[in-house]
Subunit: 382 residues, 4 copies
């Protein structure tokens, strides 16, 4: 008998991008059976997607509300145990709260939601139900990001002074949303994306990454949100100065109009006695400048990395793992939490606190951009 977690999916039908990623991620380590879904607002889309996935048509639901209600009524041994939410930002809050309160564990795409109020309600729902909640800030599940965190927290860099993090893309250099490209369409639409564009889509990844690796918190921000493409309603470029609670300072740049850049998430951290650099487009490398001033290239799955990093890899050194494998790490650690297995690593996946922080970060940046002054963020509640 399989001990795979039965899971349903909301979103991810035809034309979507991230749904397929989530599905590969959940299959990769054989920890889930995807047995139900509501893959889009159009029931035809759901039927088609469900059929392609070999899902019982009876468990392909017209609405996510129906899915939650019906599944909750199935026998315990049959009904789904968890729900994966891969919809645009404005449809994170509703399904998450409903699912949690109906007894399902939830794994949700980022950003958490589109307002501070939503974030607080989602936080409350997680805390009250005690269900497992994971947010797919996938980059933080990359083995060398984990290695970086371990080393920073162990004090290997000394006291952190400088953090430069950037997430540069170029795919929205033109007004792609006018072409009907679905990804561009909703991300540039305030109704679906929320009050920010690039900042929510990728800036929050950069923010989560920097707090995750350093174990420190952004204390205040000075933000400039730009819109370069005429007629676009949301920011497509951001540049943010920040100060950390621990005394370091740095820059966070997120942009979707950096012509030719693909998915350039990169972080550099400098301390009093060492430095680290990680670039998600070459995720198996972690550049460490040690106290001797010499830069080493630490590599995934080698003897140079610790157990925590090692627990997030599947193949020997030199066999590159990438985006999908990091994504799968979140799913696999989420499954373990659902099964109540203890984790060998701390913070095995991004959680509701990460989500709330992200929304607070967006809020602070928006305010700073408005008044062009430094704005404080709340201290983390973790």
């Amino acid at each position: 008998m399989s001990s795979r977690v039965r899971i349903g999916m909301i979103g991810g039908g035809q034309g979507a991008f991230i749904g397929a990623v989530h599905r590969i991620a959940l299959r990769m380590d054989n920890k889930f059976d995807l047995v139900a879904g509501c893959f889009g607002r159009d029931p035809e889309n759901t039927k088609l997607t469900g059929s392609e996935l070999g899902i019982d048509p009876a468990r392909c639901y017209d609405t996510w509300q129906q899915m939650i209600e019906t599944e909750a009524s199935l026998p315990e041994s049959e009904r789904i145990e968890a729900i994966s939410i891969v919809t645009p930002n404005h449809v994170h809050h509703g399904p998450t709260c409903s699912a949690l309160r109906a007894g399902f564990h939830v794994i949700c795409d980022k950003p958490l939601c589109i307002s501070a109020e939503e974030a607080q309600e989602m936080h409350a729902a997680v805390k009250e139900t005690g269900k497992v909640f994971a947010l797919t800030h996938n980059y933080s599940a990359s083995p060398m990001v984990r290695e970086a965190r371990e080393r920073v927290l162990a004090g290997e860099l000394g006291q952190i002074r400088k953090i430069y993090v950037e997430y540069l893309q170029g795919w929205l250099s033109d007004k792609l949303e006018e072409s009907g490209q679905k990804q561009a369409d909703w991300r540039t639409d305030p109704k679906r994306s929320g009050p920010v564009g690039a900042l929510g889509d990728i800036g929050t990844h950069a923010h989560q990454l920097l707090e995750f690796i350093t174990g420190d918190q952004v204390e205040s921000v000075f933000a400039v949100l730009n819109t370069f493409v005429d007629g676009r309603a949301l920011d497509d470029d951001d540049m943010i100065l920040f100060k950390m609670a621990g005394g370091s300072t740095g820059t966070l740049c997120s942009s979707q109009v950096c012509f030719g850049r693909e998915n350039g998430l990169k972080i550099r951290i400098f301390g009093t006695q060492g430095a680290l650099e990680w670039d998600q487009e070459h995720p198996n490398d972690l550049k460490l400048t040690a106290e001797d001033g010499v830069t080493r290239n630490l590599r995934t799955a080698t003897g140079a990395v610790g157990e925590a990093s090692g627990s997030l890899t599947r193949t020997p050194a030199g066999h590159p793992e990438g985006y999908l494998e990091a994504f799968a790490n979140i799913y696999t650690n989420f499954a373990a939490a659902v099964r109540n297995e203890s984790s060998s690593i701390d913070r095995p996946f991004p959680d509701i606190e990460d989500g709330v922080r992200g929304v607070q970060f967006i809020g602070a940046a928006l305010e700073s951009n408005e008044i062009q002054s430094w704005v404080k963020m709340p201290a983390e509640e973790r």
Copy 2:
């Protein structure tokens, strides 16, 4: 109803490496159900592995012969359709021939087998049964390798003059086989690995890659096979000069004693009007020197690559795919062939001819090493 291919596996139990890789690969694109297996010579191993995989214990078989026989007797709608063979080299020939003749499609790890005789029998079995046979020379399924092949075959480099291919590892720099490490153990044992060590394990990958990309054939070789680690029975280092039928020349170096190297498979091809370079440790990059003399970095999933390459990717540009995804491409294209779907690309997976060539290459290199003269290879029969 799912149209996934029902597959069984031979090999890949506890302590194995490549079996787990094959299983991730077959799950990745949701084209298979792994429903039967004989995961090792020890039935306990098979039971344990089967249980972990959630496979019906009734279909966890004590011997591969039993698996083939029993599965063949099940109703057509229930029995496996294909068998994945992930055993050490000396157990490729037997299961493959039996499986094919029992009506199963076969996907087998490389090298094909350990002698020219075995290779001929396997070739005959494939031809006679008409079943689909795939050999997992996984690197050739990497999107940018496909892109390289497309461009070379289209004449973009002009006439090929030089090919440098190397596959350098360092993991056998010490006598790891004495530590009981299972991968080292069988690879250095002539009974299980066959007459060569490094040359079969990785040199054949390099050979297959160069013939696949260039569409040309190695015509003759001058080979030196070295054993650097005392007491090791097989070569752990090879250096080979070769001449191609098309007039180019080059070097092929495969080594497992290059201290610190991980999985350094790299190929460089120079023609009269262009050049290409691919390094499997950074598989999403393909360096193309065009006729203008300027080197470009072609990247996976961008507008710069053709449809063939694009058909082998799952994520947008900048979202790195790696070793497992390339491996999955072979499984996915194998599934399509099993389902008799037409392929949009030529040679969608390495096949029996690749396997026969590899064994011939080993044979020629062994002979050349013995007599220290150039030795001709047979012309390809494809």
Copy 3:
């Protein structure tokens, strides 16, 4: 008979760094004879340095005032024609003005000087005397920087949107000035360095580079100047947001406490149809993302670069030139101007306007840092 320019030097004695660089630079292309000098405040230092350099002791002067006066009184065919000023920042203004007014051409190290008043006086002296004045913003004389400028000005990137420039060093991570290290000593001393530390030493290089390549002007800045090392009197780290007159925005980070970084001057420019990236630690590469979205690596001295870039190289492609050669380019083009030869390139060396801009940039950043608001820079007077 040699047509080499007779030159004298102020500064650059024992313990200095940049003086030796200037001397190599002036020798490299055989355009100068160094025949006089006042190499330090200590006459012994001057004597010793002069002797090592084979300079006539009669032309090794105790003070720079003496050198200017005495040389000016020599017969025209004998006296120096130009003066190289390689002293700490606070001794740029005096010698420059005196030298110009005594009829000498001047080549001076950067930054121009330590106050806006000094800058204006120097500017006036240049304009009034009509003598040649060059400022050694050496990086802008690197061949691939010239290539970048040519391509941006030709519109190859379309309209510029984003500029990220950084100059990160780590050598002042500790309080090196306490060790007696001469370079650290004066650079962290407000009396000699002026009102800023890192910003003047390296930030001005970054600023000059970005204006030189883009042909655009910084319009306003928001600056944070940090001092990380306890007890240091000047900034050792800066982070600056800027807006350009042409509509682009960006970040300029200069730091001397980025542990392990050597001399990390790097600029990235993104336009509506292309992008460029240059890193001075690998100065022979220029990464160009063309309109097709593909990134090329343009290389020094290849057919891919234009005549302007070519005019700044001495060796064929693949023979790396570096820091000293770029420095020499300024000297060589300065010599040509002294000889009144026409230049094949525009702005063949950084001049008084570059110097004034740099001082204005420092002023604006200082004010912004003080009031934590955006501060405008004057429009360039060129």
Copy 4:
């Protein structure tokens, strides 16, 4: 009074490449005065070149014989002390022997000469006269090559097993010699280049580099010399297997038809407990894989490198030095030897033994290519 070495030059007139390089190299560190020359066979060329260089017309000689004879007759305080020979290969032997026997020190471009007989005579002339003789295998004077040598000789890599060295260029991919390009013209002409083309021009650099770094000797070679361009009289591509006296093996590839490659001299060395990699196109990096399996990037002029390497640099870390600086190192160390100053490093410049080895290497490769068998090289006489 200057203590600069008075030097004359043979070769290096209009249209030459390497002469200008030698002149920059001799100027860089201010150790020479170039006061005489015979820059070409055409006296007009010599006059023009001499005039451009500011050399006294009386010391611009019509023939090199005349220069040696006349200069030798000048008063000791006036006459040249050393001669730099930068002619094509066939004019190395004559001037070197004459110059040495006339009492001049000699610095000569590589390869030493065009036959074993010439090499022996030159060797004898050096030994008999006791004069200083340097051969400009410039790459071996790169700081990080010195660092590599120090570390290998100190046993840091353990016992060396594998050496891969390559020198790949593409500039002769077409029949450039037909265009009148002077460099291509003589290099492909057996009368001037000697019995080999690419092998002498660049293969000998690769050979010298590998013996210099490892301190070991090539014992035997198996060589294939190819000519890819129709009608070319000499090899334009070589691939050589070699065995070292110390037990390691490797490949040496030199080619001038690798399309798009600029000046790709690269060496990788693998030992039992470490590895090194150096690439002359990025000469300030030395990749060291230490016993912990982690690859470090050692950088010029940092605390990570030893005094020997440090003695070959002029600028601080991160200020790239390149081809010309390495070349200058040879001149500067040659000047020190001429002045009879003791050197802080062993083998401060390539000498007559390097030259003889190079000619022997060419001889062995030619013979091996002819008979397609392994050919032994003599043991080094050093």
